[in-house]
Each structure stands twice: as structure tokens, then as C-alpha cells.
């Protein structure tokens, strides 16, 4: 409601996510079509459950919570959806850092609404994970115990207001490139959740782009702030696509299960190609001396992010890993007495109703 009251800057593409929103809509149409034509009937009484599962996946139909599925498929999905949900919740912190200092009331409202959207994404992703037979409380505990991860990007600090713009443009942009194919994931509840998430993320990306556009066309200090943010967020954003294909441990099996549709490197390339054009309109420089168009590949050549740094951040040694976790744990611990009170109050009400009924 409060999130969309800004006008498009001159020259901004209508869909800053480079046409990806169209793919989300296509995935949604595909989902409806699949539901309309119905799944292959089965499994027949004598049919192998595993064979039926493969048949459904190969036919581009959706696996639903009550269906039989391989244990490893279930575990992979729980890990991936939970990690995604945790990322939304932890991801509220770096941007939340600027709500109190947002430079205009309009920007404050937009940012507050955005961070609130992320909490909402977290909630419906936890709900999607719960369809696989694990509770939100268990998943939250796994996060707090450090036994499940969240996206490493949120372990970088937001040092200026322009970082809010850079997160929207680059981090949300990378997230969309990663997530759009998930709208066609073989697991129905995840695919449906991702369609909704992607639509809102696309909106967030546009807001970030607009913040940077305003700064890049503002005072010299604002321009410098915007360039500095892009300089710091570019390579960590490239690293969001994960290790290079040769080193990715989960990729091949996830591709076969149609949880994943494209390789890490393919998605990274797609992101780079999308950003180069937009950076030009923004008037900001991508911090890569070797970035240039390759006519043969019909794509940009670019410098890889520092994967050693990525491994360091994943293993807990990014600039803010400790703070992010300490913050989440403190919020959870401080809220304990409130949650206990709510449970006690609800139990008393339930008891009263029973007494009345008896």
C-alpha cells in the first residue's frame, strides 16, 4: 500500500528484472494448465511408488505433500526451503538497519513495507517447508543452533543509505534470477510460494533501482555514495549464485528432480548480462576492468567473485555473521516470556470454553 508511491525515473526499464517477471507469469500459467489437465492416474496397485514419482516429475506435473517421495528429495527440499526462509528472516536485518534513518518519510514507508514483506516471505516459506513434515519451531531452532544456513550475502554490512538501493538492485536482482526457475519446481507448495515471492521481489528490485537512480543523478556526495555501494555489493552478489558448477555438491541430483533448472554459472551469466545494461542507464560503473561483450558467446565476459571469500563467509567468518546470529538469538530469547504468556492465556480461554460447554 505504502510501497508503490513513487514514479518511474526517466529511462528506467518497465521491468527492471529484465523480463523475468514475464517468466514468473508463464510459470503461473503452466501451473494452472498442469492442474487443469490432471496428473497421470496412479499409482496403480502394483506400480512401484518410485516409478510413479519419476513419471509425475517427468510429465512436468507437481508432487504434492501427500504423495510418496524419495527421502533424499524430501530432505533436499526441507534444507533448501528452510534455508530460503531463514534468509528472508535474517535478510531483514541489514535493511532494517536503515529504517530509523531513512532520508525522507516516503522512503521510510517504502523500506518499512519492504522489510515487512520479507517477514511475510519467511512465514510462507516456513509454511511450505511444514508441508514436508517438519515444524516451523524445529526449523527456527536449527537456524538458532547454527545447523542450517541462510544466504551469505546478509553477512555483509549496510554502511550507507545507498546500500539499501544496492541490495534492492543487485541482491534482490540476483535472488530473482535464482528464484524465477523455482516457480517451476516439481514440488507444488514450493513452486506456488515462489510465484508469490518473485512477484514481490521484482517490485523490491525496482525500488532499489529507483533509489540508486535518484542518488546517481543527485549531488556529488550522493553519486559517490551510490558508486561506493555498487563497488562493495557487486562481487558478493555474484557469489550468491554459489560455487562454480564443477564444485557444486547439490546440483546434478536437484536438476534431475526438477528442483533446480539451470546451473549456478548459467544463472550468474544471466545476472551479469542483465546488470550491465541497467548499470548503463543508472550511470554507475560495475567494478570489473575485464567486463566486456563476447560476440562469440553472445554474453559478457566477467571476473569471477572470490570463492575463497565466499567459503569463509559460509563457514561463519563474514563481517557480520556473529552479529546477525546474536541479534536473532536475542530477539528469540527476549520474546520467550511473551510467547509463554500467549500460550498460557490461550490455554485458560480454552479451559473456560470447555467449562461453559460442560
Amino acid at each position: 500500500m505504502y510501497g508503490n508511491d513513487f514514479s518511474a525515473p526517466n529511462g528506467a526499464p518497465d521491468d527492471a528484472s529484465g523480463g523475468l517477471l514475464g517468466e514468473v507469469e508463464a510459470a503461473e500459467a503452466e501451473l494452472r494448465a498442469a492442474a487443469a489437465r490432471g496428473r497421470c492416474v496412479g499409482p496403480a496397485p502394483d506400480e512401484d511408488l518410485a516409478a510413479y514419482f519419476t513419471e509425475v516429475v517427468d510429465a512436468e506435473q507437481k508432487i504434492e505433500p501427500r504423495d510418496w517421495m524419495p527421502d533424499a528429495y524430501r530432505r533436499t527440499l526441507i534444507r533448501q526451503i528452510a534455508q530460503h526462509a531463514h534468509s528472508e528472516i535474517i535478510g531483514m536485518q541489514p535493511e532494517g538497519n536503515w529504517i530509523s534513518r531513512a532520508p525522507s518519510l516516503k522512503r521510510k514507508a517504502i523500506l518499512l513495507a519492504k522489510v515487512q514483506d520479507e517477514a511475510g516471505h519467511g512465514l510462507y516459506l516456513y509454511a511450505a517447508a511444514e508441508t514436508l513434515g517438519i515444524s516451523r519451531d524445529e526449523l527456527v531452532q536449527l537456524l538458532l543452533d547454527g545447523r542450517q544456513k541462510y544466504s551469505s550475502i546478509f553477512n555483509y554490512p549496510t554502511l550507507s543509505w545507498a546500500d539499501v538501493g544496492a541490495i534492492g538492485w543487485l541482491v534482490d536482482g540476483a535472488a530473482i534470477v535464482n528464484q524465477v526457475p523455482l516457480c517451476r519446481c516439481s514440488y507444488g507448495p514450493y513452486a506456488r510460494a515462489m510465484i508469490r515471492v518473485c512477484k514481490e521481489e521484482s517490485f523490491h528490485q525496482r525500488q532499489g533501482y529507483e533509489i540508486l537512480h535518484t542518488l546517481a543523478h543527485g549531488t556529488p556526495a550522493q553519486q559517490a555514495m551510490a558508486q561506493d555501494a555498487v563497488d562493495r555489493w557487486w562481487y558478493p552478489s555474484l557469489a550468491m549464485f554459489g560455487p562454480p558448477d564443477g564444485d557444486s555438491t547439490h546440483s546434478a541430483q536437484s536438476m534431475a528432480w526438477k528442483i533446480k533448472r539451470f546451473s549456478n554459472d548459467d544463472l550468474r551469466q544471466r545476472f551479469v548480462d542483465m546488470c550491465v545494461q541497467q548499470a548503463g542507464i543508472l550511470g554507475l560503473r560495475i567494478p570489473d576492468e575485464d567486463l566486456r561483450w563476447n560476440d562469440e558467446r553472445q554474453a559478457y565476459d566477467y571476473t569471477q567473485p572470490d570463492y575463497d571469500e565466499l567459503m569463509q563467509v559460509i563457514s561463519g567468518n563474514g563481517p557480520c555473521n556473529r552479529e546477525r546470529m546474536a541479534h536473532r538469538r536475542a530477539a528469540h530469547a527476549d520474546g520467550n516470556w511473551v510467547r509463554e504468556a500467549a500460550a498460557a492465556y490461550a490455554a485458560k480461554r480454552a479451559g473456560q470454553k470447555e467449562t461453559v460447554a460442560a
Binding site: M1, Y2, I89, M92, Q93, G96, I99, S100, R101, A102, P103, S104, L105, K106, R107, K108, A109, L112, A113, V115, Q116, A119, G120, G122, L123, W161, T214, G218, T219, A221, Q222, H327, A330, A331, D334, G335, N336, W337, V338, R339, E340, A341, A342, A344, Y345, K348
Partner: protein
Amino acid sequence: MNGPFDFTLALGDDALIAAQRLAEWTTRAPEMEEDIALANIALDQLGAARLLLSYAGELESAGRDEDALAYLRDDREFRNALLVELPNDDFAVTMAKLFFLAAYQLPLYSALAGCADERLAAIGAKARKESAYHLDHGALWVKRLGDGTEESHRRMQAAVDQVWPYTHELFAADPAAPVDPATVRTAFDEVVGPVLAEATLTQPDSAWAPAGGRAGVHTEHLAFLLAEMQVLHRAHPGAKW
């Protein structure tokens, strides 16, 4: 206070400072659903603040827009009641502040919806619907915490005791204003009394009634809140955001 400008500014400042405090809960709430709910209420307050401050700027006719009023005034020029600037403290204190504020804003905005000034009437009509939700939310938590566990009861009673004295300032008489706040005291009492009783809480009987916010004499807390809120805007004079 005197006339529609001061009145509109005071209401706008109440809403703005309440929004700033509520937004501090983002990423810190006791439950994820509550994180979303508090952000919702903060957005409502911020939305009302923007309408009220914009209109105040027009009434003043000195060329100040919502941002000039929000970012370029010092604490002595703010006209919010002290209640909204008090630190959040624990969740019980925040809920006491939310509940009392909503129990004041709902009848005030409702009366405003019927006032002669068309702009204020429109703002009142919009904001009262939101206040009704804030009041429900605050009242539910006051009851849950008051009648929850021993610890939550102790904290909620302490919170009510701590915040209650600051409610009196909200109803300071101002017969010249579009709606005299003194006239909504009865509606406030009629809502607050039964909720506190149902929450097994005691309504405080304190004679202390701190005031000064409407005259720009605040607690020590407001200047810190403004320093943080205004720092970036003031660091770049004249910049567009």
C-alpha cells in the same frame, strides 16, 4: 495549542514519533507474526503522519512540506505528547503505550471525521479505521500478558503503572481546536477500564501527570530519537532522495 495548525502539527507529531518507535521493533519482535503486525501499525501511523504534516505545512503557508517538518525541526519545535517518545522498553511497555495511544486516537479521529475542516475530516475518517485495529491489537496483548503467566502479569502491571501518568497529557483541554481533546476522555476511560479489569490489572491511581510535549518541552529521550531520524537528511542539505 491554538488553532488548526498547532492542532494538526501535534497530531502529526504524535503519529510520526509513534511510528518511529514502533519501527524499532522490526526484526526484534517476540514472534514473526508480531513483527509484521507492529510494522503494519507503524506504517499506519507513518501514513497518518505524512497526511497531517503535509496539511500542517499547507496551513502554515511557509513552504514547509512533510519532510521539512519531520527532518528540519529541533526537539523544542516538536508538539507530540510525551507518551509516544518514551523508549520501547520491554514488550509490555510497548503494548501499554500502543493500547493507551489507540484508545485516545480512535475517539479523537472519529470526532475529527465529523469536523468542519474537510481535509481533517477526511484524514480522521481514514485514520479511525486503522486506530480501531491498533486498539484491538493492543487490547488483546494487554489481556494476554495481564492474564498470562505470573511473569507476564508482573511485567504488564509494571508497564501500565509506568505509562499511565503520561496518558493525562493527551486530554489537555484545547477549546479552540477542531476537536477539543478533553472531550474524548470519557470514551478513553470507557474502553480502558474494562480491558484492564479483564486483564486482571489494577488501574493506577497516580496523581503525577507529566506534560509539556504540546509546548515543546520534552523528555530527554526525544532529542536522541530525532538525532537518529534526522541525521542523514540533515547531512545533505537540499538533496533529493
